[in-house]
């Protein structure tokens, strides 16, 4: 089973890389076509970001291939995690290797959800490389399937706590990608999706992810109380997740209550994703109660 998991993992890496290539070709060819259309129309053509970037012309073939291969990579990752779960007898969240693959799965899954909803494959050019980096990172760390350390021997909370975190991190990745595109557009990069649409995508991603992030912290507190008798210990990972939560909470307040939009909101999302990564990797540097990554 572990071998099957590894094979699926490698297949996922290759397919994510291939999907990125397809997306890149699709997006570039769309931009070229639109550029030509603009020239042909005397510069009057405009791009309606409300429809798909991978337009319905010949270039969409690459986009479609990209989407199919991205779905394939998602399936490979799910297969890898499933095989590993069967082999180890617990959710694939016990060490950094397993969590990195889960994180990448969450990123790709959430991205595909947003692609279906908003048809903006150009987001994939930012989101999928993040997932690929996460998978490549996983190849550099030990993949041994060890028994759970005593602190993690709570299968229900382990599974739910981390699975919820993966969804939250995935949505924050998508919001980051949309925010980056928004900022690129505001700094003059042409022919990107409409700014309003990017703003909406990043916002909706946070709206989905924020309650999940809240649940991550709450479930973590519940678990900490059961395991150690203290629902909050200012452990570095706890604190980092709280900081991440505060940043996204500030973003939602600024945007919903006071109508913050534009670059300020986009930068806040970039900072938020930085905090997300900090939360993810923080325990490698700072130790604490979450020092069971297998790398400390």
């Amino acid at each position: 089973m572990l071998k099957m998991s590894e094979y699926s993992f490698i297949a996922a890496i290759l397919s994510v890389a291939l999907a990125i290539v397809f997306y890149a070709v699709a997006v570039v060819s769309v931009r070229v076509q639109r550029g030509r259309a603009a020239v042909a129309a005397g510069g009057a053509a405009t791009f309606d970001g409300g429809t798909s970037v991978a337009v319905t012309s010949g270039s969409s073939t690459f986009g479609t291939y990209g989407t199919l291969v991205a779905w394939l990579s998602f399936a490979f990752l799910l297969a890898s995690l499933t095989f590993r779960t069967i082999a180890t007898g617990h959710g694939p969240f016990a060490n950094m290797y397993e969590f990195s693959i889960s994180f990448a799965t969450g990123i790709i899954g959430v991205y595909l959800f947003f692609e279906r909803r908003y048809h903006q494959r150009i987001l994939g050019l930012i989101v999928l490389p993040i997932a690929l980096l996460m998978l490549l990172y996983a190849t550099t760390i030990p993949a041994t399937a060890d028994p759970l350390v005593p602190a993690l021997q709570n299968n229900l909370l382990l599974t739910v706590h981390v699975a919820v975190a993966i969804v939250a991190y995935g949505t924050f990745s998508v919001s980051f990608a949309a925010a980056v595109l928004y900022l690129l557009q505001s700094y003059g990069v042409p022919r990107l999706p409409r700014a309003e649409l990017l703003d909406e995508i990043s916002y909706r991603a946070v709206v989905i992810g924020f309650p999940f992030m809240t649940l991550v912290i709450i479930l973590g507190a519940v678990w900490a109380n059961v395991a150690w008798g203290s629902y909050w210990s200012w452990d570095p990972k706890e604190t980092a997740s709280l900081v991440t939560w505060l940043i996204y909470g500030a973003y939602l307040h600024a945007r919903v209550v006071r109508g913050w939009r534009g670059n300020r909101a986009a930068w806040l999302l970039v900072v938020g994703f930085g905090a997300t990564l900090f939360t993810y990797f923080g325990n490698l540097f700072f130790g604490g109660l979450h020092s069971y990554s297998g790398l400390n």
Binding site: P150, P211, V226, W260
Partner: protein
């Protein structure tokens, strides 16, 4: 402002607190201030993560604090220098999360949340409670965003569509014009109050836990018993370690650790359970958690005249030179022992023992010790230092268990706060409010106005509603486009329905809800 009101205001006695109150309210309801607070707390939290913090047990005694602070000084002084480390210590940067100023920031944040929520409360309540079924005609102006107009749909059929879409429908007829008002998720609009109440309650719960709670880490060696609270506390509970186990995996790591824990009150056994990390024991208002463990040595210290000075376990609960380390003051003697355990695989354990005697006071006021003797002893052996009038027998090397005993009256509030927080967020984000006003005039023309929270995908939802209305439309005239576009609406509901329904209005593509109504 009228002259009369000016006079009235001028005649009223000025409240001396009005201006500061307004300023405080303005500050606490400012989103910039809220974001600034969050940024400051986040920065401090990052400092607390990056600078090694003193563990909780460092604050048990001055000696513990000095020992733990000494370790931090060893870590930071070579890099930062002593003056900077002194400054950091004075600022509380080694215990950021327990400093008064961090607590003050949290209290300020709670105050902001409360004031902001109270500030928004009247408007939220008004929005949720004041319902106007009848709106003036300009309200339905199709040139406004999220408006539509069509013919061929009766008020009854339109109400049916709204109900099928889970709108609560009210109606009114004025001068032969039928007005419909559909409201979906009216009360969840107030859910943001639950979220903010949850946040404040959490901070209150933390304060209750800190003020009235009890938490103590107890080190209990094999077979020993220790009181949970101070001796003399009425109804005090005593814990006894009936057996500790920490089986190892083949690779040497610990597979598990557990303690057979017996709980006594007034000499009577009230509970017994094998507890492990994720399986605590709850009894008599306390919870006992298996938290940590470490090595301990079983010593018998006898005076040369035969009297027993010490007979029991000594936990090695500190680390020195990467080895378990512990201290013991020899009862009846002005001598302290430092114990260092050296344990190698395949070799018997060796305990290095350093005996020291206080001989004076250092210039900084701390006691000065001089070493009396140094020796090593294996299990079963006895050390008889010539410089001391006692012998030390090492009977065995075992383990102590670390139990966290906790009584937290704020815990119920914490769970309630968490519940409010998550329920409020779910209701706010996943059950946003949608409102729709319909006006069907005597000529049969239907006009529609839509308003929803920002979380609603207006394009899809309003498009879907228009598609449903087009589907039930009784078209009196030859409009071949209507049928075709109604089918196409499945793919692009808003655009198709807009075309089919003769939308003379702006498209519903705007992502944000209007403030209509």
């Amino acid at each position: 402002m009228s002259v009369g009101r000016r006079i009235a205001r001028g005649a009223a006695p000025a409240c001396p607190f009005a201006a500061p109150f307004r300023a405080a309210r303005g500050l606490l309801t400012s989103v910039r201030f809220a974001v600034a607070q969050i940024v400051v707390i986040a920065i401090i939290a990052v400092v607390g993560m990056t600078v090694r913090q003193l563990p909780g047990f460092a604050f048990r005694t001055d000696a513990d604090y000095a020992a733990q602070m000494g370790l931090l000084r060893e870590r930071y002084e070579p890099v930062l220098g002593r003056p900077l480390v002194d400054l950091m210590e004075r600022l509380g940067l080694f215990a950021v999360f327990t400093t008064w100023w961090f607590t003050a920031l949290l209290v300020l944040l709670a105050a902001s949340i409360v004031v902001c929520t109270l500030d928004r409360l009247p408007r939220l309540w008004r929005q949720a409670s004041e319902i106007r079924v009848v709106q003036p005609e300009p309200f339905y102006d199709p040139s406004l965003p999220e408006r539509a107009a069509m013919t061929g749909v009766s008020a009854e059929d339109a109400a049916g569509v709204l109900r099928r879409r889970r709108f609560h429908v009210r109606s009114a007829v004025v001068d032969g014009v039928t007005y419909l008002y559909g409201d979906r998720n009216r009360l969840p609009k107030l859910a943001t109050l639950l979220t903010h109440a949850g946040l404040v309650l959490f901070l209150v719960a933390a304060a209750v836990s800190g003020r009235f709670g009890f938490e103590e880490g107890l080190l209990i060696a094999q077979g020993e018993a220790v009181p949970v609270e101070r001796l003399g506390t009425p109804g005090n509970i005593v814990l006894k370690n009936e057996g500790f186990a920490a089986p190892r995996l083949p690779d040497g790591r610990f597979a598990d650790f557990s303690t057979d824990l017996a709980v006594y009150r007034d000499g009577a056994l009230i509970a017994r359970k094998v507890i492990r990390v994720n399986d605590p024991l709850d009894v008599a208002g306390y919870s006992f958690h298996q938290n940590f463990f470490g090595p301990a040595v079983d010593l018998a210290i006898r005076a040369t005249d035969g009297g027993v000075l010490w007979d029991g376990w000594v936990p090695l609960d500190a680390v020195s030179a990467d080895r378990p380390y512990g201290r013991l003051s020899v009862p009846g003697r002005d001598v302290g022992l430092e114990l260092l355990l050296d344990r190698k695989a395949g070799a018997p354990a060796l305990v290095a023992i350093v005996g020291s005697q206080r001989t004076g006071t250092d210039p900084d006021g701390s006691p000065h010790f001089d070493a009396l003797f140094v020796g090593g002893v294996e299990p079963g052996g006895t050390l008889a230092p010539s410089a001391a009038d006692f012998t030390i027998e090492l009977r065995s090397v075992g383990a102590y268990t670390g139990i966290v005993a906790k009584r937290d009256p704020g815990l119920g509030l914490v769970w309630l706060a968490f519940g409010l927080l998550i329920v409020g967020l779910v209701l706010t984000f996943y059950l946003p409010r949608r409102r729709v006003w319909l006006r069907v005039d005597r000529a049969g023309e239907l006009r529609l106005a839509w308003a929803s929270d920002r979380y609603v995908p207006v394009r899809r939802e309003l498009g879907g509603l228009l598609t449903d209305l087009v589907a039930i439309r009784v078209d009196p005239g030859p409009r071949p486009a209507a049928t075709a576009t109604a089918a196409a609406a499945v793919a692009e509901p808003a655009a198709a329905a807009a075309a089919a329904a003769e939308m003379r209005a702006a498209s519903p593509g705007s992502p944000s809800g209007s403030a209509a109504g």
